[in-house]
């Protein structure tokens, strides 16, 4: 497994720790100037503020040397998981459809939220239950997902929405839609379902000792499906 590191990534070590020490997986960092991604079972594009979020979140990182290789890898079906800034980078790269706006209320929001599993038809959710709730933190200023009406219909028709923001009872209330995202979207895949983008941080919810561990289930699903030991 590989964790990409851009100048300004700040959840790279969280992701590395989660995979190596909690999941006991074989994992390495991939500096953004690297151009060899062969032999990896999955690539994680972590959160942070790559290139200071200059211009737009993810817009500059998207042209890093490693991204050209990562795009090829993803197009061949290689699993790629973008978390938070990683999601923004994958959107800018066009690997998943849509774009990110500033949060509706303009605040940077850092808190635990509930997300609901909307589809189990992906490597990221196949061992979870549909409608299952996960308590996972978000930490972003630009997570207000946007896609036009045709785009949202396509996402729904292809079962590409994996996670929606809900309240503690699993309901998609307006208040639960914490950043104003179209259709409460917290995480989606590409059409082929090998590329995931999600704003919540599962790598920050891995150990009960630190308060929560629901995020672990997503990585457990990935490891089980890909048969990584």
């Amino acid at each position: 497994m590989g964790v990409v590191v851009f100048p300004g990534s700040n959840c790279d070590h969280d992701a590395y720790h989660a995979l190596k020490y909690v999941m006991n997986a074989d994992v390495k960092f991939l500096w953004h100037k690297e151009t060899d991604v062969s032999g990896l079972d999955i690539i994680i594009v972590p959160g942070g503020f790559s290139y200071g979020d200059y211009l737009r979140s993810g817009a500059i990182a998207r042209f890093s040397p490693i991204m050209q290789e990562l795009i090829e890898y993803a197009k061949k079906g290689g699993p790629v998981m973008g978390i938070c800034n990683g999601f923004q980078i994958l959107l800018e790269a066009g690997l998943i459809p849509g774009a990110m706006r500033h949060n509706e209320q303009l605040k940077f929001i850092c808190k635990d939220v509930h997300i609901r599993v909307e589809s189990t038809q992906s490597i990221y959710t196949s061992t979870l239950q549909k409608d299952q709730l996960l308590k996972i933190p978000i930490s972003h200023g630009e997570g207000n997902y946007y896609i036009d009406n045709d785009g949202i219909k396509e996402l729904q028709d292809n079962d590409q929405v994996l996670f929606r923001y809900v309240n503690a009872h699993g309901e998609t209330t307006q208040q639960a839609n914490i950043n104003g995202s179209v259709d409460h979207i917290a995480g989606i895949t590409n059409k082929q379902k090998n590329v995931l983008g999600m704003m919540p941080h599962p790598e920050r919810a891995m150990e009960q000792l630190l308060g929560k561990e629901d995020g672990k289930q997503i990585f457990e699903s990935v490891l089980q499906v890909l048969a990584i030991t």
Partner: protein, 81 residues
């Protein structure tokens, strides 16, 4: 050398929370005639080209590839003499 002035704006259909906040503040200042505010980006680009048409093509490419997000932004290019 040509100097291009590029404005990048959110499409009218896209919610602009920054513009909304600024609008609200202007109303609080008593400027109630102001009925809408949209905030975008302004970018100045120096471009080496033999004529304006060529310069425009280069700047347009820059906008399409990087400076504007085609999912939700439009751009407008002007040249200064």
């Amino acid at each position: 050398m040509f100097k291009a002035k590029v404005s990048v704006t959110l499409r009218p259909s896209i919610l602009d929370p920054k513009g909304k906040a600024a609008h609200h503040a202007l109303q609080n200042l008593g400027l109630t005639n102001i009925k809408g505010v949209r905030i975008g980006k302004f970018i100045e680009i120096d471009v080496q080209a033999s004529n304006e048409e060529e310069a425009r093509d280069i700047v347009e490419l820059a906008c399409n590839k990087l400076l504007a997000n085609e999912v939700m932004e439009d751009f407008d290019i002007m040249f200064e003499y």
